[in-house]
Symmetry: C2
Subunit: 331 residues, 2 copies
């Protein structure tokens, strides 16, 4: 049995920056138990006044691009500058492949050992909705614990990056030089989502091709529309091996932060993220209650394929499901 | 009072291709009345076996790019080839500006007068969820009425294009030459969503800059990842004035259709669109019931700003709202 603490114990532990209590608080927030949910949401509410001061950075890229190596090197550079850094991961697929939790830990050995760093592997939730909602809470708890920078890692191949984009201030895409096969793995739409692109592994004989790729992407992105923040996403090169380019990336993020604070986008973006989070939570909770309804479940499993094949109208099934949910027939 | 018909009358009217009955059936589907909803969903279910045979094309681009002119010219080319064409519009903003309904009608005068064409202005629904769901139904009704090609027009500046993308087979983006200010209006993310890009108004002294833009976008898109359909979105130039390039666009769409039928993407895409439609309907209906709940409404309006400013945790409010919805306190 996992030990629970009182709301006060969690709150004071988190606010004092106690790593063990922070970990336990995140575990509480990640719990699927009804009773834990109430306590976790009270905890988040109580620490809320102490959140919001960090820079939240999402980092994405296909497997093999070197996300963990990058986070290790980038995080170390930040702690050497006196910053404290929390690393979270959103990877709904890690439940399938397992291993990635251990993998992360070993790959980020140096950073993990630093007293100013905190590394939290992927939560064990099963749905994307659950995982991302829990990551937001984990992020707030880390902020309340006093971390200056939150790095949220996600694999750029599924749907998690849209979720991560919706909870961070800056979204960084790591890529490899050569616009060939490596690209196939990236999900369409991610490039336009990124606030900054980094051609990673720009070291040794890769440097030339990385620089070439940088120019090509720079020209290409120039043709694409700017978002409402009016920010033109820079393209940079970096190596986590030689540490080349890491300072420049941090400076770019600071420049972004400065511009967005000035324009007001920083806070307006966070305000809409909070509303989106409310909507997400409502949809998740409503959907959960809905799908846990036994008769709804049965009706859905019996008719799902009929909708897919076009035999049954989604509209008709939706109507029947809703009627069943609110007016269940007595058996 | 609008006249209602029986299910049988609607069904037979639509299936026989009766324009008036088709219009009335779409009006029924667009109705916000509870009683109409039941009849409409029965109607959609009954005509379902006669749907799915058309090519569904979404057309987007910022105001001023010439969408209506393009649809008029493109649609006329299709009817001259013996095809029948239905034009639908998704534009949630048109309720605000009004006028666009009349505007569409006058701008598409020639096409509207053709016996093989059918033009339906934006529905008068108020929410995006409502509008898009209704557009799907209108699309199916048009298919059941025997139309070969469905053109769905949307303004590429809001959120409607994601919705339209999720209901069509092919998504076409119209642009203007010159990667400068025109671009600012397009929503970020749309370029990567498009299955084909057309530099419109490539006529007269615009031809040279249109060709230049074409090359630039072609090179840029080459750097972007392919979607799961493995289709590399072509960039073309066209003029609705001189009709130059219109045949080529149609040929490109036919080529896409051929490749996607062969790879199986055409049907797998439609299958996931149907499931997405089910989910959309469920979310819409659940959300509607939820937001119509008086105590939920009150709690939401009292606390919405607190969530936006970060005073109240979205998680806490979501929990309270859900509890209120399912266990309303007696007044």
């Amino acid at each position: 049995m996992r030990k629970r603490f009182t709301l006060k114990e969690y709150r004071e532990g988190v606010l004092s920056g106690d790593r063990t209590k922070l970990s336990q608080a995140i575990t509480l927030a990640e719990s699927a138990l009804e009773s834990d949910f109430a306590l976790a949401s009270d905890l988040v509410q109580e620490v809320l006044p102490f959140t919001g001061k960090s820079i939240r950075i999402g980092i994405t890229g296909v497997p093999g691009v070197g996300k963990s190596t990058f986070i290790e090197a980038f995080g170390q550079m930040l702690v050497e500058q006196g910053k404290s850094v929390a690393v979270l991961a959103v990877d709904p697929s890690s439940q399938k492949s397992k291993g990635s939790i251990l993998g992360d830990k070993t790959r980020m050995e140096k950073l993990a050992g630093n007293p100013r760093a905190f590394i939290r592997p992927s939560p064990t939730g099963t749905t994307l909705g659950g995982v991302t909602s829990k990551t937001r809470e984990a992020m707030l708890l880390c902020e309340a614990a006093g971390f200056d920078v939150i790095l949220i890692e996600t694999v750029g191949v599924g749907q998690s990056e849209t979720a991560v984009k919706s909870m961070v201030d800056f979204f960084l895409l790591l890529m490899l030089a050569g616009a060939g096969d490596e690209l196939q793995g990236i999900k369409k739409g991610i490039m336009e989502m990124a606030d900054g692109l980094v051609i990673h592994k720009a070291e040794g004989e890769n440097i030339a091709s990385a620089k070439k790729a940088k120019t090509a992407y720079k020209n290409a992105l120039h043709l694409f529309p700017l978002g409402e923040n009016n920010w033109s996403s820079p393209v940079m090169t970096a190596s986590s091996l030689t540490k080349e380019g890491l300072t420049e990336i941090w400076e770019m993020i600071l420049k972004y932060s400065g511009q967005m604070h000035e324009s007001g986008f920083w806070s307006s973006n966070r305000a809409s993220q909070r509303l989106a989070w409310l909507e997400e939570n409502l949809q998740f909770l409503l959907g959960k209650l809905f799908l846990e309804h036994k008769q709804v479940q049965e009706m859905l499993s019996q008719n799902r394929t009929k909708v897919e094949t076009g035999e049954l109208s989604p509209l008709s099934l939706a109507r029947d499901l809703i009627n069943t949910f609110f007016n269940p027939k007595k058996i």
